[in-house]
């Protein structure tokens, strides 16, 4: 048999397997994982859009709002700045004593929201915040992508997809069907891996792109246009690539795990722990990790809250990132090594459903 024939055979296996991967009830929760980050970005976008339309009829000039000083009375402010976009009054005070009236007014200057806080009719505090901050939102996206998407969603998604490629067939008692095909076991492994990879990449790269799109949706048109002309497409490409690369690496790990162990919980915990401590491992050991390579492909480093506990900061801090070329080559090398181990293991698999 020629290599070309085997490649065609692997592709046939992948095609046949794809439908099962996409529509498997056992891994339907993978879609929820992939779409989960889109939910807060969608919510944020809707909130911004609704606020923009609600505030549009009551825009107050920024110069007027800047002229307001602490110590001004609420009546003076209302006279100067006009009707606010939002107002709230309430009284509060210790029991048995006279309560104080509090009043919060919110103004909108077309870009920023101004929050004015009055106590007993006197302005105590004035601060303003942009309705939407592109820079902040991109940092939030980078954080969600690195801390949730790569470390958890892609990780567990790949567990759901790739562990089932062989383990699911054993549970369904259908693996013998593939073993009785005139194909080498390595070709079968390659075909199944390819099917898992296509499905996982489509699901998670699309999920990442969707979240990215939803993050961009409510942004200012001018800023957005500048972003697309500059680094926008590049960012989108690298987020999708990082998600796909995560699928390449974690997919191989969980495919091998599905051949070696029966219970997915054990390898999941072990690999999650290993990936979690990657940042504090010696440099040589860091290279035996998927996260080490994948996180350096993301275009923006994730933000780290300076107030977070030291242990969290230590675990979340990325290892010294390799160059993009080194990351891609390193990831492919780790994947090839794991797939080679898996191919040795698939040779030894026997059909004995009774014990599984």
């Amino acid at each position: 048999m020629t290599a070309e024939f085997r490649l065609r055979q692997a592709w046939t296996i992948a095609r046949l397997q794809l439908r099962r991967v996409f529509f498997s009830k056992r891994s339907s929760w993978v879609y929820l994982l992939a779409l989960f980050p889109s939910v807060p970005f969608f919510g944020h976008a809707i909130e911004v859009k609704l606020s923009q339309s609600r505030y549009a009829s009551r825009v107050t000039a920024a110069a007027i709002l800047e002229s307001i000083r602490e110590g001004d009375t609420d009546e003076e402010v209302l006279k100067t700045a006009g009707e606010p976009v939002h107002e709230r009054k309430f009284r509060r005070g210790p029991r048995g004593e006279a309560s104080v009236e509090y009043r919060n007014l919110i103004y909108f200057d077309g870009e920023r929201r101004w929050f004015l806080h009055f106590e007993a009719g006197i302005l105590q505090n004035k601060r303003s915040r942009p309705l939407i901050d592109f820079e902040d939102d991109r940092k939030v996206f980078a954080g969600v992508f690195q801390y949730f998407y790569l470390r958890l969603a892609v990780f567990f998604g790949c567990l759901g997809i790739f562990m089932n490629l062989f383990r699911g067939e054993i549970l369904d008692k259908t693996l013998h069907f593939w073993f009785l095909a005139p194909a080498r076991r390595e070709v079968l492994l390659a075909g199944k891996y390819l099917a898992g990879l296509i499905a996982a990449t489509l699901i998670f790269a699309t999920g990442a792109a969707l979240s990215f799109g939803l993050m961009l949706w409510p942004q200012d048109a001018v800023e957005l246009s500048a972003f697309w002309r500059a680094q926008g497409p590049e960012h989108l490409f690298w987020y999708a690539t990082a998600a796909a690369a995560g699928c390449v690496g974690y997919g191989s790990l969980f495919l091998a795990a599905g051949l070696l162990v029966r219970n997915p919980v054990v390898p999941a915990i072990v690999i999650l722990f290993w990936e979690g401590i990657n940042g504090i491992l010696p440099a040589a050991l860091q290279k035996f990790s998927v996260l080490y390579y994948v996180q350096s492909l993301a275009p923006i480093p994730p933000p780290m809250d300076a107030n977070a506990p030291a242990l969290i900061q230590l675990l979340m801090s990325p290892a010294d990132p390799p160059s993009t070329v080194a990351a891609v080559c390193g990831l492919l090398a780790v994947t090839a090594l794991v797939l080679w181990i898996a191919s040795r293991s698939v040779q030894r698999i026997e059909i004995n459903y009774g014990t599984d």
Partner: protein, 310 residues
Amino acid sequence: MSAPEIVFQEVSKFYGEVLGVNHVTLRIPSGITSLVGPNGSGKTTLMNLMAGLIHPDRGVITVRGLSPRDPERLMRITGYATQYDAAPRGVTGLDFVTTGLLLAGHGKQEASRRAWKSLERVGMNEAAHRKVAAYSKGMRQRVRLAVALAHDPEVLILDEPLNGLDPLVRAETIALFHEFAAQGRHVVLSSHVLQEVDVISDRVILIANGMIIAEGHVRGVREEIHEHPSQYIIRCRDASRIAALLFEQDHITQVQVHEDRLGLLVATRNQREFSRALTRISLAGHTVESVVAADENVDALYKYLIGGGR
């Protein structure tokens, strides 16, 4: 040109500490060969070993010169209808058969043509577009046979292939095996129904406890079967008297009177003579209420064969 034999040389297979088969040495020529033995005797283990679904702990197997560890070549000449009932979820009978052919490297059109032909051979073309999961047991049996036949293999391995088939389909399927064997191919099947084996096979391999206890042409084994004492339970009024009358017969090897004195357990070497003797006893005025065979299954024969005919 591959060697036209299936060869087992000193093959042993253990499942942990449980014996699958032990020191099996066999040469199976082309034609229909039946593996016969009670449940758990090692029939399926031998078949799985031949198809490479499991690997021997010791010994060597070749199927027409090919190693079961080389599925790429072996499964081109081998079709195996396993006892596993499951099919990939959601597939129709046609998909099920076509998929195997696509994996064998056939183009879509050729795979479809062969799949239809194979389904037609097993009488399943009308149900081809129905989901396998909705098939009856017999239909699933037939669609598995269609998968095994579809690529026109030289070796057909069939685990209990006649289970669940109605008499008409059973006869057609047996004819199919004969047609296949007549072309110089191997048909290796397992069964625990002796009458079935008697009709189908050119050659029989008897297995018990993972070991080959007899092998050869059907005639020799059939003689063993005819000599095998059959047991009957007789319900009657005067059991002691009937027991005495039966014991006078040469073919009766054992008579045991039941505790309630209203029944007998009788073992005979000749069923026809036993039937005549019972008729004579009834005509003589003794009341025989019922006669029930006590050992119509293959296990009884095996107990007999393993025990050296005692």
